[in-house]
């Protein structure tokens, strides 16, 4: 991969669920080390776009490239096989709104699962990696606990450590703080912020407009399956060019003041 080539490249992406077109002709590029926030009203397609980046949602048309791996969809292209898709997904880490930790495994085993099962690391090496990542998210002392015993904020930090254990080129966050009690949002955002500071390439679907403004390099506003506005974070949030973006953000500003 050359230095000038973006880390993520999405071209002419289309997705429909039944009669409902969720994404229409979406084009997006994310440079290495860039943090991009996807914002927009519910039903705008932002989560679907994020899930197309690791093929949890398989696009109907267009092209998705992450790092060296690229897939084209629709028309003459046959669907990638399960092994190819698994390899593709291993290069991205994903953090979910509902955490989705594995409840039958300890915190440590959750974080070791990717390295052991997918990367086939030796157990000792996987454990060393997992303990290091748990320390990084501030949960080293919770390693032997089961997820059910953790708070929402702790669960989400474990989920971030689990995704990082694959040493992915890209991290995807799907409303990572939306299911948290307000007082727990900060600890998760802090971990995300430190990841961004380390130069991790991140795409995050978020309702945290303040976080998007402070941490993201770019904000992409979607509505009705189309990218309406795409620009530097502060510019899009403080002085949006498009009326639709202004209307959406006005709703947030009202909430803040109210």
């Amino acid at each position: 991969m050359s230095m000038t080539q973006p880390m993520i490249e999405v071209a002419a992406l289309r997705k429909t669920f039944g009669a409902n077109t969720v994404l229409r002709d979406v084009n997006l590029q994310v440079r290495k080390g860039e943090v991009v926030a996807l914002i927009g009203p519910s039903g705008s397609g932002k989560s679907t776009l994020l899930r197309c980046l690791n093929l949890l949602v398989v696009p109907d048309g267009g092209r998705v490239r992450v790092g060296e791996q690229s897939f084209a969809f629709g028309g003459a292209f046959s669907l990638p096989g399960t092994a190819a898709m698994a390899r593709f997904r291993a290069a991205t880490g994903m953090v979910f709104q509902q955490f989705n930790l594995f409840p039958h495994m300890t915190v440590l085993a959750n974080v070791m699962e990717g390295p052991l099962t997918v990367r086939r690391l030796p157990r000792a090496r996987a454990e060393e990696l997992a303990r290091g990542l748990l320390a990084k998210v501030g949960l080293a002392e919770k390693a032997e606990q089961y997820p059910a015993r953790l708070s929402g904020g702790q669960k989400q930090r474990v989920a971030i450590a689990r995704a990082l254990a694959m040493e992915p080129a890209v991290m995807l966050f799907d409303e990572a703080t939306s299911a948290l009690d307000p007082e727990l949002v900060g600890e998760v955002l802090a971990v995300m912020q430190s990841l961004a500071a380390e130069g991790m390439t991140m795409v995050t679907v978020t309702h945290e407009i303040a976080f998007a403004r402070e941490v993201a390099h770019r904000v992409v506003f979607l509505r009705d399956g189309v990218i309406v506005e795409d620009g530097p974070a502060r510019q899009v949030i403080d002085t949006p060019r498009e009326e639709a973006t202004r209307a959406f953000l006005a709703h947030f500003h009202r909430q803040r003041e109210g």
């Binding site: 690791n54 949890l56 698994a86 290069a91 930790l101 594995f102 039958h104 099962t117 997918v118």
Partner: protein
């Protein structure tokens, strides 16, 4: 008023022991075979490949919607004529009861797997697991825990169903009871004892399932 005389039962004690042994061995065989068939069929039902789903569904409906006694008789009398393969009463009994139980196990397996939140397999796939790895490492361990009580309940029913093989003269507990009843002319005592033996085996198992259900409910 009928004059009970259980003393006569004692002289047939070895018949009962042999019969109970056959019943338990039969149960073990049909439960083991049924679980294997049920797990396979349950997984097929959730496959992405439509022919596998149809095969599983066809199997389940045929065996759920016909009486097990009819299946037993059909396997013993009809199947050899159609296929030319003679089979013993024991083989026919194991085959039909295992397939009958397997149909119910299949539904339990399907339901157990379907009850695991989709977020679990999404998280597994997002890590880069193949669907097979996700099933083996993430979904099945959680689903099996939820399946254990209903699988045990179905296995208890399977133990009771083994009494039907007496129709094919397989010497199980009920068949030996019939023999003892004819021999002793004391059917009331003999069949009462047969019922008591079934109860003595099944009641503790039922209690065990109940305890297991409560323990699993607490740990969820």
């Amino acid at each position: 008023m009928y004059q009970w005389d259980f003393a006569v039962v004692w002289s047939y004690r070895w018949l009962f022991v042999n019969g109970l042994w056959v019943t338990l061995a039969f149960t073990a065989a049909i439960v083991a075979l049924g679980l294997a068939v049920g797990l396979l069929s349950g997984l097929m039902r959730l496959s992405r490949l439509a022919p596998l789903r149809w095969t599983s569904q066809g199997y389940v409906e045929v065996f759920r919607c016909t009486p097990v006694l009819v299946q037993l008789v059909w396997f013993y009398y009809a199947m050899p004529i159609l296929t030319g393969v003679e089979m013993s009463a024991t083989t026919a009994g194991v085959l039909s009861l295992a397939l009958y139980g397997g149909a119910f196990y299949s539904e339990i397996v399907r339901g157990g797997i379907a009850s695991i939140e989709t977020g679990q397999s999404e998280a597994a796939l997002a890590l880069g697991m193949t669907p097979a790895q996700s099933m083996r490492r993430i979904i099945l361990p959680q689903a099996l825990k939820r399946m254990v009580p209903p699988l045990m309940n179905q296995s208890i029913i399977q133990l009771k169903n083994t009494s039907l093989v007496s129709v094919l003269a397989v010497p199980d507990l009920l068949y030996q009871g019939q023999a003892a009843a004819h021999d002793s002319y004391r059917p009331l005592e003999i069949y009462t004892i047969v019922a008591v033996i079934y109860f003595a085996v099944l009641f503790p198992l039922t209690l065990l399932v109940g305890r297991l259900e409560r323990r699993l409910a607490r740990s969820d």
